[in-house]
Symmetry: C2
Subunit: 465 residues, 2 copies
């Protein structure tokens, strides 16, 4: 059942430069302290003060594809390298908070599902049921080569791999231990009920796992499942498995189309429309007046490392736009299948939007590398006073978006500002929660601790008895 208000999540990564490249160079940017627990605990406390539902850790387990022929730019920009493990800092965050959900990205490539399921169950106990898992397949060639593969599997095969991976974890989380298996009965000297703890004997294409699961049922058993793929295979995977999908739509109308399409797929799998919630990624430029907001936006644009933005896009889509001057015309760089749609997107935007022009330039000029960087930096940006931001968020809510994954310019600054200035206005309008609902993170979002009976994980309840 959808709540009237939006959910909020902080979109972060255990690194210096996650989405908005170059901002770490600002003197007030604390994200360079990512190695320290204090940095993350302090942020978590800010988020909990603002009644955020999640701190959401993105992750990569390898370098992005070469930019200008190497990974030099990524290193210089701190662009997701270093990339620290988010899962091992979660318990420090949990110990210092009470209600904030902690979402961890983990790829099927990096951890064996038996080990991963154990880690997640341990954390779900340790957090009293506040763990979420963002399921990813990893699209980085270097990541594959870090784990002994020659390279990436083909795209749809990666989702078949993920299908088996989650299947193993569902068996462990939902089927291996029946309710009431952990007794801890001192008087009878019975710690567990043998009849209620089962091996799973999974045999599949990639995995053979005997079991039993090594951890007793945690508050949520299966953690809240996030997913982020927007391809057809990605939408189908989300429709089958995800309870929350992370999207980055250019605007509410496009989000509405994507959400409607995915919800249809959800229903086609036998689940209900609202079994999947959608979180839109947005970053905010907040002013006490519209003028101040516009001024701060100019400052933000100037602080962004445009070359870094292009590098991130290059690495993510697997097309090397690097090694060129920022003023080089994009059309000259390449006209391959991979680049064409991107070049056309930038050229259209340059031709259409005065915002992408610089003083003295004509509307018909050729799009440059700089334009690409600017567009990337302005992607999913919301600018204004708290009141006008609330208006804009209402439009996202009306389009069917359930939550906002708040991208940062600085940590903790972006979140402090959002919590202090925007959240109170949203709360006054009923667009943000004033208090947490009780219980586990799934109870807060969906009303029950356990994943519902329409989800494929539920088929394994009692399956091994």
């Amino acid at each position: 059942m959808p709540t009237p208000h939006l959910h909020f999540s902080a979109f972060v990564m255990n690194t210096t430069s996650h989405i908005l490249q170059g901002l770490w160079r600002r003197p007030d940017a604390g994200q360079t302290d990512f190695n320290s627990l204090e940095h993350w605990v302090a942020l978590a406390k800010v988020l909990e003060r603002g009644r955020f539902d999640f701190i959401f850790f993105a992750d990569v387990v390898g370098l992005y594809g070469d930019y200008g022929g190497s990974y030099e730019k990524y290193v210089q920009a701190g662009l997701q390298i270093p990339s620290n493990d988010p899962s091992v800092i979660a318990s420090a965050i949990a110990y210092n908070t009470t209600d904030l959900g902690i979402a961890i990205t983990s790829s099927v490539i990096q951890d064996h599902p038996f080990n991963f399921a154990r880690k997640i169950s341990t954390l779900d106990h340790a957090t009293n049921g506040r763990i979420a898992w963002n399921i990813v397949t990893s699209a980085l060639e270097n990541a594959a080569r870090n784990f002994g593969y020659d390279g990436l599997e083909e795209h749809d095969e990666r989702y078949r791999w993920a299908d088996e991976y989650v299947d193993v974890t569902y068996k462990l989380w939902e089927g291996s231990w029946d309710d009431g298996a952990l007794l801890q009965d001192r008087a009878r000297g019975l710690h567990g009920d043998f009849a209620k703890i089962h091996k799973i004997n999974h045999v599949g294409k990639r995995y053979r796992v005997e079991g039993p699961h090594l951890v007793a049922p945690s508050p949520q058993r299966t953690p809240i499942l996030f997913q982020a793929g927007s391809s057809t295979a990605g939408r189908d995977f989300a429709a089958r498995h995800a309870e929350a999908q992370f999207i980055i739509s250019p605007g509410p109308e496009q989000a509405r189309d994507l959400i409607e399409d995915t919800r249809r797929r959800v229903v086609a799998t036998g689940r209900k429309r609202d079994d999947l919630k959608f979180f839109q990624g947005l970053h905010f430029v907040i002013g006490s007046t519209e003028e101040e907001a516009r001024r701060k936006e100019i400052e933000l644009d100037e602080a962004i490392d445009l070359d870094g933005m292009v590098a991130h896009l290059s690495g993510a889509v697997g097309v090397d736009f690097g090694g060129h001057d920022l003023d080089a015309p994009l059309g000259d760089i390449g006209n391959t299948d991979g680049t064409r749609s991107i070049v056309e997107w930038v050229q259209e935007s340059v031709s259409r939007r005065a915002g992408a022009q610089r003083p003295g330039e004509s509307p018909g000029r050729a799009a440059t590398v700089r334009d690409l960087g600017l567009l990337q930096g302005r992607n999913s940006r919301v600018v204004g006073t708290p009141e006008s931001i609330a208006d804009q968020l209402q439009r996202w809510r009306d389009a069917g978006v359930d939550g906002i994954n708040v991208v940062n310019a600085t940590i903790p600054g972006s979140y402090v500002e959002f919590v202090e200035h925007v959240i109170p206005v949203l709360q006054d309008r009923g667009l943000a929660q004033r208090e947490y609902a009780p219980g586990s993170t799934r109870a807060k979002l969906f009303g029950t601790d356990l994943i519902n009976e329409r989800h494929p994980a539920a088929q394994y309840r009692g399956a091994f008895s």
Copy 2:
């Protein structure tokens, strides 16, 4: 260089029943709360008050071998099932302590070395250099079958596997990032120095790992390395790789022989005698008088689940002594190669020691399953007043033991008692430290943050430049 005092470590596991089986049934036993972070943080604070060097987490990633034909006994006794992941609770412990080292057991079977190295480096940053790794190969068939193997590799092959595994991690920890690679230079906009961050391109029998390592050099780079094998292959592995070895010798003289043998192997590899420290596992029964101590020992013996002790031994050595009455003669159970040495050990002890006899029994009687359980429970036990315990620990120290891994009967009770009553006496005698040395755990134990140049990990410094 050896310190005059002993080091102290708490030998625990993220489970209910670790070594002394059955004690969890006592009303004052808190170890049933292992799922909770508060339980572990509270214990860590006790240990730090007592200036312990480590909290040492043992671990298994599967069931012990069948006992009486199944894993029923293990479940009923809470005997290392559940077995929660220790690595994900470390940061909560670290955040609430300042000096305690955190040693985590992880098997080569459970985690890919690229993922593991990243996890450890992240934790070493998060703890300001307080992480140790207990390297294990896993000797449990069920663990192998949880990770897709048909069964265990042969014993010596497991150590060859471990050799390659640690080699990959050394390359990542020591060679991938040169000193000074992380700049975070805001003025120049240079986050990292590309010339100092290298791929490792490891190609071996089991692993291919491209790199670079994803985490910048942590305070210790390579964590403190623990190892526990006592076989010839195990001693040789420890001699090459370990900085601390966990041993369980029946007494100081046997410890002296083992330590001397292993130190000779250490020197043979080009390292120095004192590059490896030895931690003896012991549990303590503490009384304000000798009489009180003896009385508490009888209570302890009565609280121990003897069948559980036999089950643990059975599972660990891979011989099923289960399914028999406690009064069944051991000699009737089996006389296979696996059981013979154990049966002889118990029979000798029964014939020799009045302590293993029960009222009305003759010295020449046949040893029973009960005797085996009692002997296991009394293994490595130290009984007495704080002063006599200090005398006994002095003998262990004189035999060359560097530290004590303190086994518990109850958590936190056993450690509270030891810290309040024994540690002050040891401190007065110079046998325990009064204050922590500054810096990382390796700096506290060995005087330097980084592993020394005689260790095989050091060969990779600058190796990929």
